[in-house]
Structures are given as structure tokens and as C-alpha cells.
Symmetry: D2
Subunit: 273 residues, 4 copies
């Protein structure tokens, strides 16, 4: 059995030592191991993938017992078991399409039982992939809350969902909602950012995937990327280029989450890539 264990706690001497002992004790063979101590908070995070012939319960007991003195947050799961992902969309399809595409290609291991939208536009696309589609009114989060519970949702992906979520929902799903937004150097406030970017003559445009907090567009950054553009790209070209980078950055962030590679420390993330 291939297991992924993650551990988070204040750094203290002996954690790796205890963790490796626990894995030895259940005859585990370490495949991947990464660790990091944040120098500002002194917070320690660790991700270990290991094989064992013992049960997941035994591995869990062994790790919990030996690391208990560090009071860590521990998670252990089978790497083969995909996470349950709820996708929220509005009208534009590029981010959703990329997730479906990578999923079907076998490069993104997630289970996507439901897509919820505040617009009917993408119903047919979603259903053609054998996925349930539910239309909601703006601001109505009942269906979302219901789905989280009923479908045991591990992650909500805002795939260009043009609605702000309630503080209540953000708090309930802290560290489990990923959003994508465009990013520019310099930044632009207000409407039509790609048009502003064109008028300002920017030479790169980018996208940022981040966890959602109640402070809109301010949660911990998971992944960013940019692409070079030239004067020859008009506003519509920039929008098309932006679509391309948005979908790639969001898909990569979802993949990192699906593989337990993202850790939140203070207002930033540690990514074991």
C-alpha cells in the first residue's frame, strides 16, 4: 500500500527522527520525503510517501504514538484514493475544460461528482462528461453547503466563479477553497483589467491561484505564472493569453492539492513540488 503522511507542528529537535522511527516500526519504505521549517514562525511541515504491507490504521497508530509529544497535525491517506472536488463556475469554460481534460487524460487524479453554477451556460458541457450539474441563484449557498456534506467534499475549486463566497463558507472550508485570478505588473483596480493592461503596455501578464479567505483575492498564494506579451497583442489577444495561463495555473494548483503537496504556514504556502 502506498501512503502519504503529512505532519505539521512547531519545530523541535527530533521530529524527523521520530517520524522515520514510526515508519521503520511499521516496516515502511520511504519513497519521497520532504520537510521545511519556516524561519519566521519556526513552524515545521513534512510530507512523506511510503510503502508498507501493514494496514493504514497500523501506520497511523505508529506515527501518532511516536510523534505525540510534538502535538502535530497529522494526515495519512492512501495515495491512490482521489479527493472529492466540487467545482463552481459561472459562464466561461476554459478553467473547467482544462480540469476535465487533464482528468480524462489521467494526469489529474480527482473525483468530480458535481459542478455548481449561477448560470446555465455550461450545463451541457458538464453533463457530456457524465458529471452532475446544478444551477443555483446568486448568493444562495445552500446547495454548496449541502454538497460539501453529502459528497464529502475535500476541495472547492472556483473555476472562474464570479461570486464572492460568504465569510461563513470561507471559514468552514479554510485551506480547502482554491481560486484563480489574473495578475498584472503593476496591478490594476476596477473593471476591464486586460484593457487597462493593454493601455499601460505591460510586457507580461500572469495568473495567481490562491486559497480563498474572507479577504477577497488575499489568501495564501499557491502558484503563479506569467507569460510574455508584446505591443502586438491587443486587449482581446491579452484576454485569450490570459485564459491560457489562468487554466494552467489553476489546474496545477488543483493537482498539487490532490497530491497533498500544499501546506499553509501563516499567510503563505509551502509547496513540495
Amino acid at each position: 500500500m502506498d501512503l502519504i503522511a503529512t505532519l505539521q507542528c512547531q519545530d523541535q529537535p527530533g521530529i524527523v527522527h521520530a517520524m522515520t522511527k514510526a515508519i521503520l516500526d511499521c516496516s515502511g519504505n520511504i519513497i519521497e520525503n520532504q520537510q521545511f521549517t519556516d524561519p519566521i514562525t519556526n513552524f515545521f511541515v513534512m510530507r512523506t510517501r511510503f510503502e508498507t504491507n501493514e494496514s493504514i490504521d497500523l501506520a497511523k497508530q505508529s506515527i501518532q504514538a511516536l510523534t505525540a509529544k510534538f502535538s502535530p497535525i497529522i494526515s495519512i491517506r492512501e495515495s491512490a484514493k482521489p479527493k472529492n472536488v466540487l467545482v463552481l463556475v459561472s459562464k466561461v469554460s476554459h478553467c473547467l475544460r482544462d480540469l476535465l481534460y487533464l482528468k480524462e487524460l489521467g494526469e489529474l487524479s480527482i473525483h468530480m461528482p458535481l459542478v455548481i453554477s449561477n448560470h446555465p451556460d455550461l450545463a451541457k458541457l458538464v453533463e457530456s462528461h457524465g458529471i452532475k450539474f446544478k444551477l443555483i441563484s446568486n448568493g444562495d449557498e445552500n446547495e454548496i453547503s449541502g454538497a460539501i456534506k453529502d459528497l464529502d467534499i475535500d476541495l472547492i475549486v472556483l473555476a472562474r466563479y464570479m461570486q464572492v463566497l460568504s465569510t461563513k463558507l470561507c471559514d468552514q472550508m479554510t485551506g480547502r477553497i482554491i481560486n484563480i485570478h489574473h495578475s498584472f505588473l503593476p496591478g490594476f483596480k476596477g473593471a476591464k483589467p486586460y484593457h487597462q493592461a493593454y493601455e499601460r503596455g505591460v510586457k507580461v501578464i500572469g495568473a495567481t491561484a490562491h486559497f480563498v479567505t474572507k479577504d477577497l483575492d488575499e489568501g495564501p498564494i499557491i502558484r503563479q505564472d506569467v507569460t510574455h506579451v508584446t505591443h502586438a497583442s491587443g486587449p482581446e489577444d491579452l484576454i485569450a493569453i490570459g485564459r491560457d495561463i489562468e487554466r494552467r495555473v489553476l489546474s496545477k494548483a488543483v493537482k498539487l492539492f490532490a497530491e497533498d503537496r500544499i501546506f499553509q504556514v501563516a499567510n503563505r504556502t509551502v509547496i513540495f513540488n
Copy 2:
């Protein structure tokens, strides 16, 4: 003789036609030709490199005569003749070093007769390259103005010169002063930007080279680039990575200027790269 002609005017039918006729008329052979019409302002820019056995004066007359009806701004010069560049620095050396390095390697064709600084720190470095170094007091632009006139300066490069230039100087040298500054997604105001970027957990850091206008850090962007960073880079690492990208972006912008590849249209640039 290898000549570079640039032409700028409102777009009208027949400009390229007139320009190519003028070059034909002086037995010119076009080596490179690039043109662009900005869709918002309808402003047209064109850069043509051509060889001719005629004199530069004859080529100039031919082009002026045939394009006069478009009332263009025209420049014609020998591509082999390097531009005169005045570099302003303060204490840090990385951007200046990169310019000197590329110049000596033969990859950046500029003439650098003088470096002016408001700190004595880099005097020895500058002089070891056989370049005159002049120390000025903060805010004293007399030496700068004198040098512009006496040395026939084509371009001022602010190679991490930590002083704001006067509006008068900015106006006098419009489109001929290049500055470099760091760039982040999102942007940060205030002191210690790399420390702020670290605390915010950014995954890319960048730099922007731009023309200087009286609105600090707001002039037309010439070049931008970014580099990916991870959680493992602390504030000091980010500063080192920032140095690397700052110097590369600034050097590239200076090289583009040295080869007449930058055109300013409204508040943005057209770059024929």
C-alpha cells in the same frame, strides 16, 4: 554603409510604399524592416535597417523628401556608431557591473564616458574599467545637466540610482532615461519590499525596466521579466534573485535602446525585437 532609419507618424495609406521607394532611390538594400500601427491611437512606427553605398546625407534627403507629406518624425544613423550613455548609480553595483560586463564582452554596443553617483562606493570599480567617475551631492543635478550637454548624452541609465530626478530633467530627457525597479504580484508599497514579498509568500518575483517620467515608476514599460521562487527562499535569497533579474532586464532594455528598437506610443512602448 549600414543604416537604421526610424519613422513615426499618424497612420495613413502609402507610408511603407513611400519609405521603400525612398530606399530604392538611394540604391538601398533592406536588411530588416518592422512596422506597427497602434490600434488605439492609429499611430504608425517603422524601423528599417538597410545597406547603401550612398552617403547617409543622401539617404536622409531621399527619405525626407518622399515621406514629407506624412509629417513624420524621422531618425537615420549609422548602426555601427554607438550611443553615448550616462549611468547613474548609488551604492549597489549589480546593474552597473552587468552593463560593463556585456559591453566588454562585445554584446552591448554603447559608449559609456562617465558614471555619476551620489555615493563614493563604486568609484574604484568604475575607474578600473577606464571610465570617469564623478561624485555628486544628493539633489544636485548640475553635473548631470553638464554631462548631457558636454558629452552629447543619448541615454541616461538609472542603474539602481536611489534618487528621484527633477521634473525639469525628466522633461528634458523624455524617452531617454531608463530606470529599473523590482515588481511583485501583488505589488507592495512601502519599505523592504522583498521582506513583504516573503511574508506574502509570492511565487514569482520580477523586474520592470521603464522610461522615467515625472510620475515616479509610472513611465512606459520597456521590458519585464520574472523568475519563479519557492517557500525555501528567505528574504535575503529573494533579494539575491531580484538582483539577478533586475540586472538582466535593465541590460536588455539598454540594448534595445542602443539598437533603436524602442518606440513610445501614448503611455506604452512598441519594441521591435
Copy 3:
């Protein structure tokens, strides 16, 4: 009407001049114009996109009349009219999926009436996109030849079609068949190239899209890209990374072709990107 004209001939003085005159004469307004003279062969290529209220026939006549003395190869077509593309596949789907995906997203303007394969595996995928699928035996090119004629095929895309085409077909479709293959530094001969690359410890893997000639894998290169890999990527990881880069490079090459941006000069290409 938005037209794309391309022109190719030995370089001589006056070509651009004649071309711009022809466009002026049919009241055309140039939107994009790029040109290049290959220094080795002295061959000249030019791509001009322009708008006109006149008919395409009138534009064609005007251009032909004024450029006749240069004996050029000329093509003029409406930019809005997509080219007919025949895709050949075998068993793996990633390249085909990417073409379908970009096509449906509206980022790749092609008409894809038929997919032909020597294996039945991808029939369902193809048909679910409303495209006809035809199964052929290995080496049987009758269906391919028939489709070229009946469907007025402009381009054949070998989207990981694991068969060598006959010299006859290669000659018939010179400059109109695009293939994708993996590329490594250094190169590897023989079976299982990704396994060889792993054993050799390469740090980048790449892909090359090229025109097909009778010399397998030796036609003019259209596009290449690479991605960085590390020791941590095993052979299977390299294959997955290779899939990602193959599909992106091939799709981009097809897009360049669809927009008349590729010119062949001797054994290399000029790309107006």
C-alpha cells in the same frame, strides 16, 4: 473583408514597394505586415494581413498584376475561412485531445472533418466530438488519398501516428504534413527513448514539430520547446511530461499553419509569430 496575402520569391529591390502599391490600389488597409530575406538563399517571404471593401478577386488581380515581374508564389485568402485538416492517429490520445480542446475553446481555427487511424482505440473519443472516424489497415493509404481529394484537405497532422507515410504521399503533400516527435539532448536512437533519457540523466526533455519529408524526422522544423526535469522524475514521469510538451508544441505548430504564418526556405522555416 479581412485578407491574408503571402508572397515568396527571390529577393529583388522593389517587392515591398510593389506589394504595398497593390494593396493601396484596392483601398486596402494593412493590419499586419512581416517580411524576411534569408541571407543564405536570398529568398524573400512576406505575409500581409489587410482589410478591404473590395472583393478578394479584385485584391488578387491587383497584387498579381503589380508583382508579376518578380515571378512570386502568391496566396490570398479570407482569414475567417478555416483550413481543412485531416488528423491521423494511432492509439495515444494526448495530441488529438489537445487539438479538439483548443478548437472547441475557439483558440484554434480549423475545420476537422475526419480522423483516420490504424487502430480502433480512439473512435469513441473522435465521434463524441461529432467528427467522423475511419479505421484503416497499416500501410493502406487509399483512404488518406481519397480524403485529401474529397475533403479538400489543406493539412495533414500526424498526432502521434506511428506509421511512416509513403514517399508518394510525402511528395504530394510537401509542406502540408506536420509531425511531432520527442527530442532529447543528447539524442537517443532505438527503442524506449524516455527510458534511455532517464538512464542518461538528462535535465531537459523536449519536442519538435516539423514538416514531413521522405527522410523521416528530418523535415523543416516548425517549432521546438523543452521543459526542465530533475532526477526525481522516473521514466514514467518523463513520459507524462513528454506528453504535455508534445501536445503543446504540435498544437502551436498547427495554429501557425492555420494562420499562414509558416514559410519554408531551403530546409528551414521562417515563422511570422
Copy 4:
């Protein structure tokens, strides 16, 4: 004191456990820790940077005692102590200049007591940086061997040294000689590779830094990078672009070596970056 320990041996359960115990025992605080098991050879490599108030000798004893049963190759050294680097050059300066530049900027921590060349061309450049320059005849390796012994050389860098080293020297310095060479897709044999690359119309050109073995250009790859080129770059432009990428790839490889980040496993490297 800031120490870097590296450990290499066949993988067995308990190595990380033993290593972390040894560091705990000398009151060490782990700053960085990376490990990897090669899946083909089952060879394990580990790099640990840690702080301790104990002496380096005590740390060494502790690690040796606790890991002895794994029969590892161990190295422990102060991270602040730069390695001794001997640079060999011929006529071209770009790679040497980049090493000097980064060294003086404080971004490359090495000690460079001597440069040896088979041509006198770079003597002045080297001596202007306060470094000893020695001219040798082609094929005479006495000075090199003498310098290795007298100057306690840790690394030889072939900064475009156009001579093949003897098998004896290669064997003596296995894993301690780094070379740089250009790389193309596809590869080219014979003279003037950049001219061949131009005629073949390649769209990327690259460079590879590798350890030198007696099989020329075939040792374990340390780092590779490429840059995109277009049809507009003639052979001389490709050479200039190649210079830029060669120097960056070589400098990075030297920096990785200087920080004990390179491990050799079979014919490939593990890089802890």
C-alpha cells in the same frame, strides 16, 4: 557553526533515522535536508545543512559512529569555507568572465587561485582580477597536476578549454571536472555546429554542463538549458546566443558544486537545488 553533511550508500531502512539521531546528539539544528533514493540502483544520497555549537570534529564522529553500519561515503565541511577551483581556458573569455563576475558580486562562493591556459590571450584579463595565470603547451598536463596537489584543488572547470584531458587526469579527478558544451536538437557532428544549426533551422539552442569522463562529452549531466531562437538569427547571432547560455549553465553548475548539491549515481546526477 554552519555545516554541510553529505551521505551516500545503498538504501536500507533506518538511514535518515540514524543521521537525524547523530545530529540530535551533537545538538545540531537542521536547516536544510534533502534525500533521494535512485529507483534503478537503489542508491541513497542525502544532504543535510545544520547548525551546531559543537566542533566539526565532534559532529563528524557522531555521524560516523551512528551511520557506520550502512558503510556510507560521508563528507562534512563548514559551509562558509569556499572550495578551491582551478579554471582551464583557451582563447574565448565568456565563461571565465561570468565566473569572475559572479564571484566578485558575492553570488558564487569559490576560491580561484589560478587559471591555466594553452593560449596567452586571457592573461591580462585574469591578472587584472588578481589571479595568477599560467601558460602551458598543448597536451602538457604537468602544471595542472602540480596545481591540483599544491593548491589542494577541489574542482577543475573547463571554461571552454579546447583540449581533451588525458584519461589519467580524468580518472584522478573523477566527479571533480566540469565541462560545458553546446547542445542542439537534433545534435550535429563535425565542425561549425552553429552554422549547421542555422542551416537546419533549429528553433532552440542549448548548453550542457557535465562531469568529464574519459568518454568525451559523455559524462553525467549536471545542468542543461536552452533558449528559443528564430529564423532571424543568423549563424553569428546563434553563436552570441550560445555564449550567453553556455556561461549561465556553466556558472550554475559550478555554484551547485560549490554548495555540495551534486551527487553522482551511476551515469547520472542527483541535484538538490
